[in-house]
Symmetry: C2
Subunit: 134 residues, 2 copies
DNA sequence: CTCCTCCATAAGCAGGAACTTATAGGTCGA
DNA sequence: TCGACCTATAAGTTCCTGCTTATGGAGGAG
C-alpha cells in the first residue's frame, strides 16, 4: 500500500520545476517555505504553484512530508526514486532485475552505508500503463 | 555533441504510450510498423500518433533509428537511458556519481557482457532546467 | 513506369496541466 | 483572544500536448 506506482512517478518527473525541487531536496529535507523561496530565486512562481507541485511529487511517492509545528518538511523518498530507477534498469536489460540488489549494494558501499539498511524495494515490473483514449 | 539532455528525456518518459514503446523495444529493435501494431493491440491509436511519439523519443535521445530499405528500425539508446538513471542516482546520494561505473559493471556481469564494452557515458550533472515564464 | 507499402510531416482540434489570485486552516507568540 | 506566519485548497484561465485526418515522399514488386 505504501507502494509507489512508477507510472505516476515518471509523470511527476516530467516537469522541470518538480525536478528542480527534487534537486533541492537532494541536499536534505526542507520546509515548504524554503523550497518556495529557492524556486522563486530562479523563476517567478507563486506559493500555491509550488504547493501544487509538492502535492504531485508526494502523490507520486517521490517525496515524503513531515509536519513540525506549522511547517511541513519535505524530503526525498528513496523508495519512489529507486522504483523509477529500477524501471529504467529493467529496460536496458531484463536481467537487471537481478542486478538491482547489487546496484543498491554498490551505492551503499560508496556512501559508507549512511542510512537505511535495505531500501531496495521490489517495485512493479516494467509493465502496465492504462491507456485511455477518447 | 551526441549528448543526451536528461532534461528532455524525463519529459519524454512522462507519457505512458512512450513508456510502453520503450518496454517493447526492451525486447530488441523493431520496425516502426510493428510498434504501431503492438500499440494498437492495446489501445486505439493512429499510425501518425505513434510516429510522433517515436520522434519525441528520438529527440530525447532515448531511442535510435536505423533505416533499412523502406523500414525504420527503432532501438533503445542506452546512453540516454543511463543518463536519466544517473540523474536519479545523483539525487538520492551525490556520491552515486561514483557508484555509477560500479553499477554498470554489475549489470554487465549479470548479462554476461553481451554487447557493447563501455556504454557508460558521462551525462550532465543533476543541474539546470530552463524555466520559461510568461 | 505504376502501384503498393512504409513511414513521416502538416494542420487543426480538444483535453489537460500548470499558473494565477483569493481564501481557508492550523500553529505560535503576545 | 487576536494577529502574524506558514501552508494547503478552490476557482478560473491559458497554453501546451497528444490525438486525429489528410497528404507527401521514398523504397521495392510487377
Amino acid at each position: 500500500m505504501t507502494r509507489a506506482p512508477v507510472t505516476g512517478a515518471f509523470e511527476a518527473l516530467g516537469d522541470p520545476v518538480r525536478r528542480h525541487v527534487l534537486e533541492l531536496l537532494a541536499a536534505g529535507e526542507r520546509p515548504a517555505g524554503e523550497i518556495v523561496a529557492a524556486l522563486q530565486a530562479r523563476a517567478p512562481i507563486s506559493q500555491p504553484g509550488v504547493s501544487q507541485h509538492l502535492r504531485v511529487l508526494r502523490d507520486a511517492g517521490l517525496v515524503t512530508v513531515r509536519a513540525e509545528g506549522s511547517r511541513r518538511f519535505y524530503a526525498l523518498d528513496p523508495d519512489g526514486l529507486d522504483a523509477a530507477r529500477a524501471w529504467l534498469s529493467g529496460l536496458v536489460d531484463p536481467l537487471a532485475q537481478f542486478a538491482q540488489p547489487l546496484d543498491a549494494l554498490a551505492t551503499e558501499v560508496a556512501r559508507g552505508r549512511r542510512t537505511r539498511p535495505t531500501t531496495t524495494g521490489q517495485p512493479d515490473r516494467p509493465a502496465a500503463d492504462g491507456r485511455r483514449p477518447a
